[in-house]
Amino acid sequence: MKRTTHPLDIAAAGTLLAALVTALVVPPEVTQGDLARIIFVHVPAAWLAYLAFIVTLVGSVAYLVRRNRRWDRVAASSAEVGVYFTGLALVTGSIWGKPTWGVWWTWDARLVLTAVMFFVYLGYLALRRGITDPSARARRSAWFGVLAVVQIPLVHFSVVWWRTLHQPPTILRPGPMQMDAAFRGGLVMAVVAFTVVYAALLRRRIRLARLEDALEERLGDVDVAGADVAAPDLTEAFDG
């Protein structure tokens, strides 16, 4: 049983630990107090959701151009890691929103767009699950990756426009945060730490993808058991 620890893994663990400690010890933010510490996980997660999406797009386009399966693996791996971070961004956003605004969810443009992205990612992964032929899978998911990104600006603009038309009544919400140098520094470090974590996760996920592709190649087409089985056709015997 090989246990390989890559320097990236160690860097990820180290920076993550530092980010956690910073998040907990930094003096509380002026307007939101201790609650603002949640942005030390929420903002990095949201940033990574977008980064992973871009990497998936790059991988998809690269595959369509080069037809090298390596790019397909990059795109798919980044999509899976991206689903995770998008989900995390939504969940941490909810955990922050509830005590701040009293509700788990608000319908502002950015949140809606993040939710839409989450479903697009999921669709991408579901699409891949459904196709057994590796090159067809790579090709189709690449096209979907491109199609999804083309849609995103449309979705973004329509939702922003919708929001400006229907301004919500002014709800009691705390003003924008005033971050002092320490807080801002902590946030930057958190973003850096999570980016290293993304890189480490992506690397491991790509490695897994490579193994699975190799397995697929060796095993070839394996029929679902029973697919070739047919009951004897006795209708002639009885009709005849």
Partner: protein, 223 residues
């Protein structure tokens, strides 16, 4: 030599659950689809918090019932003619097959409900009164919908187009929809809900009996 009834049912149900684990169709496809449906409505009707809070529970149950039918359909699609014939040849009791399948479907529907519930609560800011009763609602509806869906799938069999089974199920889902929403409403205004819960139990029992009685005739009809 066929195994006992419950062993057969468990084997069939277990196979379906394991298939779901591998293909992830319910979790990866139908649940997100239901969640998207929940997300689309406020975009359409406007983000009026009191309005959304009022329609939230009802919309949740509508999505559960209509999209839940897709969960019941996933099995029928995977169950091709030859495989059904093979099971019959092996002496698998059609009633056991129905029970196993309905059970697995109900389990998947319960998971479907459980994952969508926090989504609905978050998006519509639903305040849930009387948690224990609501928790009892989930399996009652899951079992009922699972039974109806499995039955409808067995009846439609080869004729199943994409929308046929949902069309067959939707009218029969009306009592379940009314019962579920009235229970949740009733819990909020402190009205009696026992009648509606009883209705659900009776419906589940009737469906179970119908399923058991029709299992063998339906299988022979499609052979």
């Amino acid at each position: 030599m066929a195994a006992g009834f419950w062993a057969q049912a468990a084997a069939i149900g277990g196979t379906e659950l394991r298939t779901e684990l591998r293909t992830g169709e319910v979790l990866l496809v139908t649940v997100p689809f239901g969640a998207v449906a929940l997300m689309l409505t406020p975009l359409a009707v406007g983000v009026d918090a009191p309005l959304l809070q009022r329609i939230g529970p009802g919309l949740y149950w509508v999505v559960v019932l209509l999209f839940g039918v897709l969960v019941t359909m996933r099995a029928s699609a995977a169950d091709t003619g030859p495989q059904r014939d093979l099971l019959a040849l092996l002496g698998v009791d059609p009633v056991a097959r129905f029970t196993g399948r309905a059970g697995a479907t109900a389990g998947l529907l319960l998971a479907f409900e459980a994952v969508l519930a926090p989504v609905a609560i978050a998006l519509y800011d639903i305040r849930v009164e009387g948690w224990p009763w609501v928790l009892a609602l989930l399996p009652l509806v899951a079992v009922g919908l699972g039974l109806v869906g499995t039955l409808a799938g067995a009846i439609a069999a080869q004729q199943a187009s994409a929308a046929l089974v949902p069309l067959l199920v939707a009218p029969m889902a009306v009592p379940m929809l009314l019962a579920a929403t009235q229970v949740m409403d009733g819990l909020r205004v402190d009205a009696t809900i026992v009648g509606w819960l009883l209705l659900l139990v009776v419906m589940d029992l009737l469906l179970a009996v119908a399923g058991v009685l029709s299992a063998r005739p339906l299988q022979e009809a499609s052979g």
